[in-house]
């Protein structure tokens, strides 16, 4: 009897040692509310990378925990705390919205946890508030506006009219555009957050007679604006531009023909011709039956980056410095092609202008032009690490 007990005991220890605990990754993202599809795509992109390695990243078993922040900063904070205290997670990721990020990130990086952003990258965390434990894999928020500013200047539009919602991110995005735009600003309108009807703004805009319009209206606001803009008969008269947020494949389905031909700025499009991307787009379509959006690509890249670093440290997170050093190398094949980290641990990457086109599968984007090569964000110089 004794022998049996001891054997069983030894066997248990042995199996425990063999099956190393998977590395826990906590994903805080937005799955409910109107914006829920953003988090869904980030999660699905991330999961795809894990599924492609059969539950591993970089050969190391991982466990992905996903929780919905409901777009609420307070809830995001609670989830982060739970992941860190209860689950002892050392890697967090996934936040969609900048206001949630501002509530969560500064706190978790002080707790010696690595946070990798899959989307939100507010200026405060890129400049003075940068931190060795914080990485942005997506972009710095202003990047996609800067590229449009540059492109609109190059396209020779001598005046623009700007529209954004009246909240901090709205002002940041217009500032990003203005940083690279060199013509005249005919008007700069800040609308109510969540506004539905833009008829008044569109009529005023028409009267101002700008040569182009730039708008940052994420989510439903952008759908409303584009539809009404086209219904007002302005789409053929005054070209409209914006960052990629109003032109992902899922929003385009709801906007329909009103978005056709609109040029927008993005760091990634599904037609970028590099092996990693071709493979990713195909696998994503097979797994989920839809074209990946840029959010999905950001989730996928983040997972692959984590994989590259886990491999470098052989799954050992006891020395977090080594893990961070491995992350900083960005030694993975990004679906964006060119990718490295700058001094503030934000991407140094190419940024493109793309155009909304119609294919037999519906509305999508096609890359028009690389406007910035190895673009560094404007706040990198303020970051002292």
């Amino acid at each position: 009897m004794k022998k049996i007990v001891i054997t069983v005991f030894l066997l248990m220890i042995a199996t425990h040692l063999c099956a190393a605990e998977p590395i826990k990754i906590g994903m805080i993202t937005t799955l409910s509310t109107k914006a829920g599809y953003l988090g869904e795509d980030i999660r699905d992109g991330f999961k795809l990378a894990i599924a492609q390695e059969d539950g591993k990243l970089g050969g190391i078993p991982v466990e992905l925990m996903v929780e919905d922040d409901g777009r609420k900063p307070g809830k995001g904070k609670q989830i982060a705390e739970r992941f860190i205290k209860r689950d002892k997670a050392k890697i967090l990721t996934g936040i969609v919205f900048s206001n949630v990020a501002m509530a969560v990130v500064p706190k978790v990086v002080r707790d010696n946890v690595v946070y990798l952003s899959t989307n939100a990258a507010p200026s405060k965390l890129a400049g003075k508030g940068c931190n060795p434990n914080y990485f942005s894999v997506s972009y710095q928020n202003d990047n996609l506006d800067e590229v449009v500013g540059q492109y609109v200047t190059e396209a020779g539009h001598k005046s623009v009219y700007l529209i954004a919602p009246n909240y901090p991110a709205g002002k940041d995005h217009l500032a990003g555009f203005k940083r690279y735009y060199q013509g005249e600003i005919k008007g700069e309108v800040y609308t109510k957050l969540g506004q539905a009807d833009y008829a008044a703004e569109i009529a005023t805009l028409r009267a101002a007679q700008p040569e182009a319009v730039f708008f940052f209206l994420p989510g439903g606001m952008g759908i409303n604006f584009l539809k009404q803009y086209s219904q007002a008969g302005l789409a053929d008269e005054i070209p409209v531009y914006g960052p990629a947020f109003s032109f992902d494949e899922r929003i385009l389905k709801a906007v329909g023909p009103a978005a056709l031909g609109v040029k927008n700025g993005s760091q990634w499009t599904h037609d970028l011709d590099n092996p990693a991307n071709v493979q990713f787009v195909k696998a994503y379509q097979e797994a989920y039956g839809r074209t990946p959006t840029l959010y999905a690509s950001q989730g996928y890249d983040t997972a692959r980056l984590i994989g590259s670093a886990l491999q470098a440290v052989a799954g050992n997170l006891d020395d977090l410095e080594k893990f961070k050093a491995a992350l900083r190398k960005a030694d993975f094949a990004s679906v964006r092609g060119n990718f490295s980290f700058g001094t503030n641990q934000h991407p140094v990457q190419d940024v493109y202008i793309r155009e909304v086109i119609k294919t037999e599968d519906g509305y999508t984007n096609s890359t028009v032009k690389k406007v910035f090569a190895n673009h560094v964000d404007a706040y990198a110089s303020e970051c002292k690490m």
């Binding site: 799955l31 409910s32 509310t33 109107k34 829920g36 599809y37 869904e40 009246n166 008007g187 700069e188 309108v189 800040y190 609308t191 109510k192 969540g194 539905a196 009807d197 008829a199 008044a200 703004e201 009529a203 005023t204 009267a207 989510g219 439903g220 606001m221 759908i223 409303n224 539809k227 009404q228 219904q231 007002a232 008969g233 899922r250 929003i251 389905k253 709801a254 906007v255 329909g256 023909p257």
Partner: protein, 304 residues
């Protein structure tokens, strides 16, 4: 000058949409004394059903024909299952229950239709723009919305002042015990009134669908404005709903359109833009406060 006329039309059109929403809400409140926060959900149901049917069949009219009964039927079902239990309860209980319904319907649309917003376009025969005056081009669809709203207002006026049903509804609003003593089936009447209210909300949703994003939670945006409308107009009064809706639509639109220009005459442009944006979004609430100081029961109180 043309811009003023165009903005005036925009305000009118927003007001009409608000009227369709607030007519239903004010009816339900005035007659049944129920605060129905879930009114916006029927607006959403109208838009979703119309978008789905229109996508399948390619016909906006079929979408409309499906959406109206869907909104009315869901409304009556909700009245039958949930609200009947709440008539005798306090307003706070009703608010809690109908707030719960908002979440229920939002989640339900996510389960049925997914997280992605739906597409609903202006029907081709309404997609042109019309030159009303030389230089004033206005989308036909928005004119149609104004037209439908005016028709509905007339139909409601006829229903309330010229038909037997309308008489019973008005009687029910002033004294519900008396009318049931007179042998009118007040329960059925309530269900019908609620169904009528949600039908109007569904109609507003259908008409907003081609202009706005059809997405879960779209009803909440307009719900707040709708409450402002019925508070300004006087709770329970259709006439108040008409006046309140037009006032709110015009003040909101004209404020957004002309405050920045006005402020630029006084301040520097950056300060002017920021101040005008804030004031424009506050304008209707300031209007509401001012009207309530002047007439605490609203412009046309139902039971004066």
């Amino acid at each position: 000058m043309l811009l003023v006329i165009e903005q005036f039309l925009n305000g009118l059109q927003l007001g009409i949409t608000l009227f369709l929403m607030s007519a239903g809400l004010t009816l339900v409140f005035g007659i049944m004394q129920v605060i129905n926060l879930a009114h916006g959900s029927f607006y959403m149901i109208g838009a979703y059903v119309c978008a789905t049917v229109a996508a399948r069949t390619g016909s906006f009219l079929l979408g409309l024909a499906a959406a109206l009964p869907a909104a009315a039927f869901t409304g009556m079902l909700v009245e039958f299952i949930v609200l009947r239990r709440l008539y005798k309860r306090e307003h706070l209980d009703q608010v809690l229950a109908t707030f719960g319904l908002i979440m229920f319907f939002n989640e339900l649309t996510r389960i049925i239709w997914g997280r992605q917003p739906l597409f609903l376009d202006v029907p081709p025969w309404l997609s042109d723009s019309l030159e009303l005056l030389p230089g004033l081009i206005y989308p036909v669809y928005r004119l149609a919305v104004i037209g439908v709203g005016i028709l509905v207002a007339l139909a409601l006026w006829y229903l309330f002042s010229r038909t037997r049903l309308g008489m019973q509804i008005r009687a029910g609003a002033s004294n519900r015990d008396m009318i049931s003593a007179l042998g009118v089936n007040i329960k059925l009447l309530y269900t019908l009134v609620f169904g009528l209210g949600t039908l109007l909300a569904g109609l507003a949703g259908v008409m907003a669908g081609p202009i706005l994003a059809v997405e879960a939670g779209m009803g909440e945006n307009i719900l707040i404005l709708t409450f402002v409308v019925i508070v300004i107009g006087g709770i329970g009064s259709i006439r108040g709903a008409v006046a309140g809706a037009l006032l709110v639509g015009l003040v909101d639109t004209l404020g957004r359109a002309f405050l920045p220009t006005l402020f630029r005459l006084i301040f520097q442009s950056a300060t002017a833009d920021a101040a005008a944006a804030s004031l424009a979004s506050m304008a209707i609430y300031i209007l509401m406060a001012a009207i309530l100081v002047w007439k605490p029961k609203g412009l046309f109180p139902a039971h004066s």
